[in-house]
């Protein structure tokens, strides 16, 4: 992967000037390359990585395994696109194995998520069955540990 993208994945707020220094290229080139990635849709947005367990909020997340019937013409894409459009669905993936779609669904309460599954998701044509798991605690998201690692134990000066 392009070094530039790796830097942005580590810290999307890094200034163009600093990125330019790290890559040893002019700042204008960094700006142009980022603009190009955005235009091409490779970069689809920038978000903060939150430790939501630290927030005092009413929210539950469920991981839902969905078995579906692939449709003529569209295959899995038609049903997957349809499911993905629900704002409750935060992430959706086509999977190999014993089920087809893996959804990450958010709601304010358990009841709300249950209602989404029974009233919106399950009745969809092509959805054969669902299996819902509620998330209890987050240890790592997007490669970032959600608990503090122990502090730097190195000596402050060493040979």
């Amino acid at each position: 992967m392009d070094e530039l993208l790796k830097i942005l994945q580590t810290n999307a707020l890094e200034s163009r000037e600093n990125i330019a220094r790290m890559l040893g290229v002019p700042a204008a080139e960094v700006g142009a390359r980022i603009a190009d990635y955005e235009k091409r849709g490779v970069i689809r947005g920038y978000q903060a990585i939150l430790n939501e367990d630290e927030l005092d909020q009413d929210k539950v997340t469920a991981v839902i395994e969905v078995k579906v019937t692939p449709q003529r013409e569209g295959g899995f894409d038609t049903i997957a696109h349809r499911v993905s459009r629900f704002p409750e669905v935060r992430s959706a993936y086509l999977m190999s194995g014993t089920y087809d779609l893996l959804l990450f669904v958010e709601g304010r309460t358990l009841r709300e998520v249950a209602a989404f599954v029974s009233e919106r998701l399950s009745p969809l044509e092509g959805v054969l069955s669902t299996s819902t798991h509620f998330m209890l605690k987050t240890y790592k998201r997007f490669g970032v540990l959600m608990h503090q690692e122990s502090s730097d134990e190195r000596l402050s000066v060493s040979p």
Partner: protein
């Protein structure tokens, strides 16, 4: 204490007369202060790869807690011979040409003690790692320092060696990529040195602990040059490339006669390297490419950043090509390296190491290690710039 002066007189005179490392001296000052950003740390800030740590715990559970062969576990030596062939181009028999040691420091000590008779001379280049001169003296050798220079990228050249060599010179020590300068030697540079070693019939000890950490071109080891394997002791370890400093695990590869001699000293003084560290090292060799690649990329970004920042603030520096050190010149500010470092520490709370800790010719330079987060480096550069503006 009353008896302290007389006890001091009873010390071995070599040990008594060697000063403590200048690094230690500086550490004592820095450790009393708060909120210091340290560019003085000569070890990686990365964690040891998780699979290595996890498998060390497993090794402990399984009971790998006993003495190993004096040479070290044979499976580790086999894996090392394979790795050294692939990464450095040296051919070694794991049965009798590889010795596992407690870090490169022990390996270096063993090599010198195995080779030197009192009065034998050792050529080494300065600025260099803090232990070289002391280790030569402890082995009753005579250190011959060859000064490398910034204008030359701190590379070693044949004329520099010719100016110092004598008929009593037995050993040539090399350390590239270099601590503290970040210098590396190209294949052509090394060919000159190799020819010199062959003509003068010198034993070469090459400390290539930073061999994996080069940023603009792949590292060339002197052991890959024709005819050098037979007269060279190659030293390497896991501290830098795998961020495993505390495991204290290094190794030496060389001709069987030399390794056997080193093993004898190791056998009687150390017995063997830590069994757990050896297990960890074996796991580390399972996928070196993946473990090291991302760290190298990150070091390169930091190197680029720090080089650009020095240029912006008008601090002269040769381009560091390897290890994780920059070695800029502070001579133009009219302060000694030590005074500059103290001023930077006291006024801006940034720790760097005075170049003189690495040999007298390090005067006029400071070592800035970029083995710390980019955030720290950025802030350190802002502070350094501020200090320089006042000088």
């Amino acid at each position: 204490m009353n008896g302290s002066a007389s006890l001091r007189n009873r010390l071995n005179t070599t040990v008594r007369d060697i000063p403590r490392s200048g690094i230690r001296d500086f550490f004592d000052i820095v450790s009393t202060m708060k909120d210091v950003i340290s560019l003085g740390i000569g070890e990686p800030d990365f964690d040891t790869p998780w699979h290595v740590r996890e498998s060390t715990v497993f090794a402990l559970e399984r009971g790998a807690t006993h003495y190993t062969s004096n040479f070290g576990y044979l499976d580790l030596r086999r894996a090392l011979a394979k790795y050294v062939r692939k990464a450095f181009g040296g051919e070694y028999n794991p049965e009798n040409e590889v010795l596992i040691t407690v870090g490169v420091s022990e390996a270096l000590d063993l090599a010198l003690r195995a080779l030197l008779n009192p009065g034998d001379e050792v050529l080494y280049h300065e600025p260099c790692y803090v232990s070289y001169r002391a280790t030569i003296l402890f082995a009753h050798g005579v250190p011959l320092a060859v000064e490398t220079r910034a204008e030359n990228g701190f590379r070693l050249t044949r004329p520099m060696l010719e100016a110092k060599v004598t008929p009593r010179t037995k050993v040539l020590m090399l350390n590239f990529p270099n601590n503290p300068t970040g210098a590396v030697m190209s294949r052509a540079d090394l060919e000159d040195i190799a020819a010199f070693a062959r003509e003068r019939d010198l034993i070469v000890i090459t400390d290539e602990i930073y061999g994996e950490l080069t940023y603009d071109a792949p590292h060339t080891s002197i052991v890959s040059l024709p005819g050098l394997c037979d007269r060279t002791i190659f030293l390497h370890g896991f501290s830098k490339a795998w961020a495993m400093t505390g495991f204290r695990l290094g190794y030496a590869c060389g001709p069987a006669e030399l390794i056997e001699a080193m093993m004898k000293i190791h056998q009687y003084t150390m017995l063997c390297a830590s069994s757990l560290s050896q297990k960890a090292a074996l796991e580390a060799l399972a996928r070196p490419e993946t473990d090291i690649a991302e760290m190298v990329n990150e070091y390169r970004r930091r190197r680029n950043y720090i080089a650009a920042a020095f240029a912006d603030m008008g601090l002269e520096s040769h381009r560091p090509l390897g290890a994780f050190y920059a070695f800029p010149s502070v001579a133009k500010f009219g302060l000694s390296s030590r005074d500059f470092a103290l001023k930077l520490l006291h006024e801006e709370r940034v720790a760097v190491v005075p170049g003189t800790a690495f040999g007298a010719c390090g005067e006029g330079f400071v070592r800035c290690a970029y083995a710390t987060s980019l955030e720290n480096i950025k802030e350190a550069m802002v502070r350094m710039r501020r200090l320089i503006g006042k000088l």
